[in-house]
Amino acid sequence: MSISASARDRKRVATTGAKESGAATTPITLSERSMTGLALIRIFVGYLWFQQLFWKMPPGFRGLYPYIIRESQHTIIPGYGALLQHTFLVGCSSLSTPAGCTAFVPLAACVWTAELLVTISLMFGLFTRLGAILATILSLQLYVGLAYAPGEWIWTYGMLVLLALALVAVPAGRRLGADQWLAPRLQAAGQHHRIARIASWLV
């Protein structure tokens, strides 16, 4: 009797465990409202990046220069300052203007273009996850270089990283964005073409 009762208990425990694990792994479906809310967050994060284009406009990208200097002085990763000194700041003779810098303009152009791509991707919901991955990389770079600089609040760049990571995690471009049109087409094409399959991971 006791053996059968304990077997029954074990069975009950096993069933409950299965139910709990089943509940924990049940796919979550986002409602239309949640998806639209995420899309609006995506648009505003894109706008955040968009506004940062204007204080470092081409052709000189002068606004970026003081930040590169600060990054080279206050980075948290050993060697990162030296890396900046030998790339962005090679040949530079002044702490306030990029006079004499040989590589600053082309490298700053790359940074500006990357931020423009993030802007287009997030605001228009076009390959949103790719844009969010790029935003994560750019934010991490800012965190590494500037989070511990004097006068900065460390969470400013931490939050930027987390915002970008959140947009990598969810398909925020599939409402109010071009990904809504793109995603089903890429998924259909992905059954036959590897490039389309890879591209479908980025929407």
Binding site: E32, L40, I43, L176
Partner: protein
Amino acid sequence: MQTLRRGLLAGLLAGLVLAMLNVVTDGTPGRLLPEALHWFGITIANPTISRFAGFFLLIVLGGVFGLIFGALQREKSITINRALLWGLAFGFAWWLVFSLLLANIMSHHALFSLDFGRFLSTFPIDLLFGMVLGAIYFQLQQLRAVAALQV
């Protein structure tokens, strides 16, 4: 009538998104909103009232564009690619009419004068307005179709 109502609602909501984007600009909140008044030659001395008026004007203009968007659909349901393309076209029209032509006329500049900075600060945002308009219109159409199936 359905498409007109849907277009109006989509336009008002897209206009609200555009106005909210103008609120969260660098510097003082909403400092760009009075530009919408300036397109029509309106100047209000009080900066707070001027910003609120600009905010509501953008929403109203969004509604007008939405109505035109809905009217052009001629009571037909549209696909997502059509909605987005029409939306982008409307965003381009918004940019052309307001951010380029009216802004230049009111500032006494040549009709098509434009520098890179002004192009960059207005064109993507106006296109975004159009795309959001088209996307919301499509969403409203889908919601109605689902509701009709459930009845």
